[in-house]
């Protein structure tokens, strides 16, 4: 039986799937059409599956699919339409929730405002449903059980900024969806693989040793940044992912809302008011207008017409227009302002915890986020082996030599040009000698991640170059010093490195010499930290101080020791062993210093709900 390399883009707003038969030399990733409910009782194959779940009312009855007549919910295009028509019954942006450290991501959370008759589901469960739909499509296409996704070589993509716990939860969703052997791949890397796959061998003329490729991936909901360096090792070209950016919840949806706001003000100036439906259609119409005005067409204005919900169209349709200037001001200057290299995103203090919500980026200036990334990662090349040109030691920024764009937003020519212009200006100001940054021409920015994931599944089998890089963060456990308690002062905390930066898949870190005490029969929690810049710390290194912003706190770890031959309440000294799995996740085990049986170890739980107020 033919086995397939399958690439799955599990996106915040859309999913896509690309497949290629493994045995056929020269097979290229092909985007599968995904049958889904597009309207009541209508099934259609579309290349994208919107990442939405709709809970039908009892009156609507089952949301039948060709392979399941009794399903009580639907996933895809109809569910997306329902997000406007009946928002309290629809799960959206589950992926952003999956990476939200402040909530229990395995608990029934979504839809946030669900009515009583809807059984809420967890972000993990929502992700499982999208994956399961893709698995069912694959199975239906290849004629039933024998072609199950469980038996294929499946690569599922995650944002590069996903930390260890969000990756772990993605894996959990894959396994629950019946994808038994998934591998996780960072989305910007997938975009790079899609580019090399589309270029064929010619890509080697475009990327040479010494190049640093900045991948700017701006999708509907998130902005994801990565840097990939090309080095020469033993005469061969090698690619290393040297840096990834923070998780930035900022994307095309924000831009559509901003443009819609401009159009709405124009309508309101004419004394027209919009109801909920019209506001939703306005956002949609503005997205289309924005894409046309930014897309390089020689339009100066784009008309916008918004119908009312009722059956009369004429006499009730509102009309306005968006000009090129409106869009340039709102999107190009609003989201991609010209800034100096030392500009930083404005961080607003979070106001109260009155409402559960996603931690959206508070600064919409993507160029400021980009400047912050290049500055934070100025040392990204420091640990590279292989021949890199001597970096100017005075450089305050990481110097990319090429840019690869990905994500729907980057289809806009004006935005690509603004980013290139900014990088060039920053590099000149930072003393770079190199000429202008090159743009690696990519095509089909909506599908590139799925294609690239599939191409990677093929590359792993020796049919192409792989990007190295390992874990994109170093991880630390908090050790509290035993000092006399002083009211109002937190005990000082030290951070012990348990997993160094850049652990390659399949490798284990050396066991740190320091011990932690855990109590038998109790769930013991430890504070957990990550750093995307500290490349120098070996496992076991203990930090007593660090620079502002160098280390961020993650949800705590939990070790539960079953009694199993020990007395409850006893304190057992353990060490933490970290393992970068082949799947692409980080596993931590607690090993007792005095084991009761050979290879005794306990799994450390990474995804623990934050303590209330903690």
């Amino acid at each position: 039986m033919t086995r397939y390399a399958v690439g799955i883009d599990l996106g915040t707003t859309h999913c896509a799937m690309a497949v290629a038969p493994i045995e056929f030399e020269g097979a290229r990733p092909e985007i599968l059409l995904l049958p889904q409910i597009v309207a009541r009782g209508q099934i259609e194959g579309r290349p994208l599956l919107p990442s939405f779940v709709y809970f039908a009312t009892t009156g609507e009855g089952p949301q039948a699919l060709p392979w399941d007549a009794e399903r009580p919910f639907s996933v895809g295009e109809q569910a997306r339409a329902c997000a406007i028509e009946a928002p309290s019954r629809v799960v959206a942006s589950a992926k952003s929730w999956l990476s939200h450290p402040g909530v229990d991501r395995r608990s029934g959370l979504l839809p946030i405002d669900a009515p009583d008759d809807v059984g809420k589901i967890s972000p993990v469960e929502a992700s499982r449903r999208y994956l399961q739909h893709l698995a069912e499509v694959f199975a239906a296409r290849s004629g039933g059980g024998r072609g199950a996704l469980a038996e294929q070589d499946v690569v599922v993509t995650v944002p590069a900024s996903f930390d260890a716990s969000a990756r772990e939860l993605t894996l959990e969703a894959c396994l629950a969806a019946g994808i038994e052997h998934p591998t996780l791949l960072e989305e910007p890397q997938a975009a790079f693989y899609a580019w090399t796959d589309a270029m064929g061998d010619a890509w080697r003329h475009n990327v040479r040793p010494g190049d640093v490729v900045l991948v700017v991936d701006i999708g509907g909901g998130t902005t994801d940044l990565s840097a990939i360096a090309a080095v020469e090792t033993g005469g061969a070209l090698e690619l290393v992912r040297v840096a990834v950016g923070d998780h930035i919840l900022l994307g095309g949806d924000n831009m559509d809302l901003a443009v819609a706001h401009v159009a709405r003000e124009k309508l309101e100036k004419l004394g027209k008011s919009l109801d909920r439906w019209q506001r939703a259609s306005l956002v949609h119409a503005c997205r289309v207008a924005k894409e046309r005005l930014l897309g390089g067409e020689s339009l100066t204005a784009c008309p916008i017409a918004i119908a009312s919900r009722g059956a009369s169209l004429m006499g009730t349709t509102l009309r306005t227009e968006l000009t090129r200037d409106d869009v340039a001001r709102t999107i190009v200057d609003g989201f991609f302002p010209r800034v100096e290299a030392d500009a930083r995103p404005i961080v607003r203090p979070r106001v109260g915890l009155t409402q559960i919500g996603l931690p959206y980026a508070s600064d919409p200036g993507i160029t400021r986020h980009l400047a912050a990334f290049l500055s934070r990662q100025s040392g990204a090349l420091s640990q590279l082996s292989g021949a890199m040109p001597a970096a100017e030691s005075t450089a305050r920024l990481l110097h990319p030599t090429a840019v690869l764009f990905n994500g729907g937003v980057m289809k806009a020519k004006a935005l690509r040009e603004r980013i290139v212009e900014q990088i060039d200006a920053w590099m000149r100001a930072d003393g770079a000698q190199a000429s202008r940054v090159r743009v690696l021409d990519a095509e089909d920015l909506d599908m590139a991640v799925a294609r690239g994931a599939c191409a990677y599944a093929l590359a792993r089998r020796g049919r192409g170059l792989r990007i190295r890089g390992g874990t994109a963060r170093a991880y630390y456990v908090g050790i509290e010093d035993s000092v006399p308690a002083i009211p109002g002062i937190e005990p000082p905390i030290r951070a012990m490195c348990v997993a160094p930066f850049g652990m390659e898949e399949g490798s284990e870190a050396t066991l740190p010499p320091h011990e932690l005490g855990v109590v038998v029969g109790e769930a013991c929690r430890f504070r957990f930290f990550g750093s995307s810049v500290r490349r120098q710390d070996a496992a076991g290194a203990v930090l007593t101080e660090w620079d502002e912003g160098e280390i961020e706190e993650l949800p705590p770890l939990e070790v539960s020791l079953p009694a199993d031959g020990r007395r409850e309440g006893d304190v057992v000294p353990v060490r933490l062993r970290s393992h970068a799995t082949e799947v692409g996740t980080l596993r931590l085990d607690a090993e007792p210093i005095q084991p009761r049986k050979p290879d005794e170890r306990w799994r450390v739980e990474l995804n623990v709900r934050e303590r209330p107020g903690g």
Binding site: I43, V288, A305, M314
Partner: protein
């Protein structure tokens, strides 16, 4: 349907054979047969049946209404509205229907020459693809001017239906609860 003559024993046997295999190997056929058998028992529970071609046409109308408000547009009387009002509504219909058309079909011109170009029509022309206008006489080849390039659907994909739904409803009535 009522006027069709009843089948002979021989053709009934043939039909029974076909039904047997289709029911065994095709779950959807099994459902149709079950529906057909139950239809006699409780006719009121079933929506009106429509022949396949009409059903597909109604599905197309429902798509054009859903995406581009086409039925709304055609059902309204335009005479009392200004060109600006009709124009604004036409934009809604054009944007939506165009998108729906391009999602479901790929439409290409039949003739690639520009309209107004002089063309020669060979003897063995395809009357489905080409219509002769004006002073048509004698036998081909004909020489003339291309007035309309024609359109052809090189791809056309309609959504499939699942479950039993009343396809005569082109758009459901909508009630906002609360």
């Amino acid at each position: 349907m009522k006027d069709r003559p009843l089948d002979s024993l021989f053709s009934r046997l043939g039909l029974a054979f076909v039904c047997f295999f289709r029911v065994v190997f095709d779950a959807r056929a099994a459902r149709s047969v079950r529906d057909a058998l139950e239809d006699g028992a409780s006719p009121k529970l079933m929506p009106p049946r429509t022949p396949a071609a009409e059903s597909a046409a109604m599905r197309l109308l429902s798509i054009l209404q859903r995406e581009g408000r086409l039925v709304d547009f055609l059902q309204q009387d335009v005479t009392s509205f200004s060109d600006a009002d009709v124009g604004a509504a036409a934009r809604v219909v054009h944007d939506g229907c165009r998108k729906a058309l391009h999602t479901h079909a790929t439409i290409e011109p039949v003739r690639l020459e520009a309209e107004g170009a002089r063309v020669t029509i060979e003897a063995a022309y395809d009357a489905d693809r080409l219509r002769l206008l004006g002073d048509v006489k004698g036998s081909p080849p004909y020489a003339g001017v291309l007035r309309h390039r024609g359109w052809q659907a090189v791809r056309f994909a309609m959504p499939e239906t699942v479950g039993v739904h009343d396809e005569t409803v082109l758009a459901p009535a909508e009630v906002e609860v609360g």
